[in-house]
Amino acid sequence: SGKGGTGSRVLRVGWNAEPDSMNPITAFSTQGVEIFQLVYDKLLGYDRDLKVRPELAESYSYSDDNKTLSFVLRGNAKWQDGQALTPDDVVFTYKLIKDKQLGEYAQWLNHMTSVEVKDGKKVVLSFDEPQAFNPGLAIPILPKHIWASMSADEIQKFANEKPIGSGPYRFVEWKNGASLTLERNPDYWGPAPKAEKIVYTLYANEDIMAQALKSGDIDIVTEMSPTVWDGVKNDKDVKIAEMPSFSFHHIGFNVYADPKSKGNPLLRDKAVRQALAYSLDRQRLVQLALAGHGQAGDAIIPAGMKNWRLELPADRKIGADPGKAMAILDAAGYKDRNGDGVREDAKGKPLSFRLIATQTVAVDVRAAQLFKDAAEKIGVKLSLQTLDENTLGSTVYNEAPDWDIFVWGWDSNVPDPNYLLSVPITSQIGQNNDVFYSNPAYDALFDKQSITMDPMARKAITDEMQRIFYEDSAYIVMWYQNKLQAYRVDTWKNWKEIPGGIIYNVTRDNYLDAVPAH
């Protein structure tokens, strides 16, 4: 049994980063989202099979033109401070986000024209285009009585130190740098979960977290990196779980054609990008950087979203062929003219690029080092620099981007392709589009898929998009990292392993279904 002090009714989770904030509008860390999905309710949620299930809404329905979405709210929901939860709160939340363009959520409401209460129990959303993705799955509902009095400015600064939601757990305290505690919400509308408390403990180092799991200090961890995870797999009280995820890591090339770009223009040549893509053996990358815990990457929809993934035939795959890479470069006129081991273009400009990666993401740094070695073999010189996450972010997302190549990744908060596909669209330049990719054909297809309600038809479109983007090689998707988790078998049970992870996933149901092992 655990050493938790207050007995086995406490679920102890280990993680290696803290939420950035308790304000669901401004927070963007995954840790934050994990807490919000327990403290707040959304209208809809995903169950343990990643199927849509009701949450605050008992049911929902689309209009025939798919432009109107109505939710029927359950009547027994209450705010954790005792106030009743009404449709007004839902309308308030959606309006707030839409009107003030607040946070990540605003992207789901771009096409919303109105939101209103109907028949006392119903909330109706109207859009000017059909919506393939249901925003009810993403947006937490906030209490109007707390948030209504604040201006946009104030909301930006609001720490929300004691969040009040309507979810199964309520916030107790956050000991900065140490732990965050939730307790069971007695007024929760649904069946009471078994864990009376959930304590998230912060570990500065994953290895130490692994030790804590082994020694019984914690019951489950949110995520582990490959080599550390390998280190716990032989412990008899610990069960490891390896699941596909909704994320990928990639190498991005600065392909911005705008004169503002300060990136090396040679990278705008598709041949150079493709050659680099061919130089890299992604299988080996998975073996070395991930110690084998993942799948070699190709298109931008990760392995976790089985339904939406494009399966490329072997002969269309780019990679693991340095010979081909060199042939492409030779053909495109890049030769080592001065014998320094680095190829130059016709004007003598060397294929020498800057490569940046996040210093704290070990797998990225490892991949970058391996990429550097691989590129060297085909006569391309890369100089590696690691930056902290924020500097890297501000370097990449710059009006006048002054970089050549970076390494990082994308993670989708929903098992729907829309978000990831939206990254490289032209309108996302200045926002998510990290390589400044712009392809009108791709953009057109994106718009089309987002209003195509039929899954089969939509899949055809997304496949085509993936193919185009893959060929263009603005990204080298290195791998789809598996979600590596581990939990103790002697404290809690009934964990279900699902794509995206047991916990720390788009569903909260594993928390609600866990039961003590004894």
Binding site: G5, Q101, A106, Q107, A152, Q156, K175, Q211, A212, N390
Partner: protein, 322 residues
């Protein structure tokens, strides 16, 4: 009285240094590259109005001079701004964290000073003996150890293999906190304290030793011996009190070292203190947090120096004017 005047003078000096640190601090963070709002926009979904409103919210839209004055005023009133990452008052975050660091540092300092001074006295009083030699060598070895490495080794040996002590955090996950957790805290504090103490002990031993060796050759020690005092009495009544003066200065300098040690120890042991906060703030470019924690740690060091000056003034009648 002269003493009071001296104390005031020292105080003025300390305050001046603090002001200089604040200025330096401010300049360092404003003049150098990195646009915090762009950093916040990392996730990319902020409109330009949102960015403008954020700039306004964090006071980044004003000219530098105004920002500096505002900054000074706020520092004086304890308003250290709002953390970019946590979006909470920096002062609140610091308040939570500083206590944890102080607990750790206080314990380590007490141990270092007590054991270090005792060992130094022992070595000096047995100068040239085997004990002395062993103490000097041990101190030099300790002095050469990287703090984080000692931490790692302790984690592996005492934590992982022997399982003798918890290796992470201040309290066990899920413990309730409060007075009941004192035992838990005690178990958690062992390894970080040992790490900090081990590494910094060496210097103390060496300094106490050399200071006492110096003092023991002074004529007044011979006088004391001639008065018929026993070796022990000579040592403790005349030797140590005089030898401690330089040790006090060292203690103050040690505080500046130990702030660095805290960052490492807190990183290795996931200790939720200021050191790690500062390190995280660096990684996140959380300027207000970084500034404030840097200022705070500088203030601690300056205060320690000030304190040592005062103690010096109080116990050494010779110190007159600087």
């Amino acid at each position: 009285m002269l003493r009071l005047e001296m104390i005031l003078k020292k105080l003025a000096q300390a305050l001046l240094t603090l002001l200089a640190v604040a200025t330096f601090n401010f300049a360092l963070f404003r003049v150098l590259p990195g646009d915090p709002v762009k950093l916040l926009a990392r996730s990319g979904h902020l409109s330009s109005e949102a960015i403008a409103s954020m700039e306004k919210a964090f006071g980044l839209d004003k000219p530098l001079g105004t920002q500096f004055l505002l900054y000074l005023r706020n520092v004086c009133t304890g308003q250290l701004g709002i953390s970019y990452t946590y979006r909470r008052a920096v002062a609140d975050i610091l308040r939570e964290r500083i206590v944890n660091t102080l607990i750790l540092l206080a314990l380590a300092t007490v141990i270092v000073v007590a054991v270090g001074v005792a060992a130094g006295v022992l070595a000096a009083s047995r100068r040239g003996s085997k004990v002395d030699g062993a103490l000097v060598v041990t101190s030099l070895v300790f002095w050469s150890l990287p703090t984080f490495w000692v931490g790692l080794v302790l984690v592996i040996v005492l934590g992982v293999y022997l399982g003798a002590f918890p290796i992470s955090g201040m309290l066990s996950p899920g413990s309730i906190g409060g007075w009941g957790s004192l035992g838990d805290l005690a178990r958690h504090i062992v390894l970080p304290t040992i790490t900090l103490a081990l590494v910094d002990m060496g210097q103390f031993v060496l300094i106490t030793r050399s200071s006492l060796v110096d003092v023991l050759t002074e004529d007044y020690i011979l006088t004391a011996k001639a008065k018929g005092l026993s070796r022990r009495e000579v040592l403790w009544q005349h030797g140590v009190p005089n030898a401690l003066l330089p040790v006090i200065t060292t203690t103050a300098l040690y505080v500046s070292l130990v702030v660095g040690g805290a960052i490492q120890v807190e990183t290795v042991f996931s200790w939720p203190g200021m050191g790690r906060l500062m390190y995280d703030a660096v990684l996140r470019r959380d300027y207000p947090l970084l500034e404030a924690s840097f200022l705070l740690s500088a203030a601690i060091v300056i205060f320690a120096n000030f304190l040592s000056d005062i103690v010096y003034l109080l116990i050494d009648p010779r110190v007159r004017e600087a």
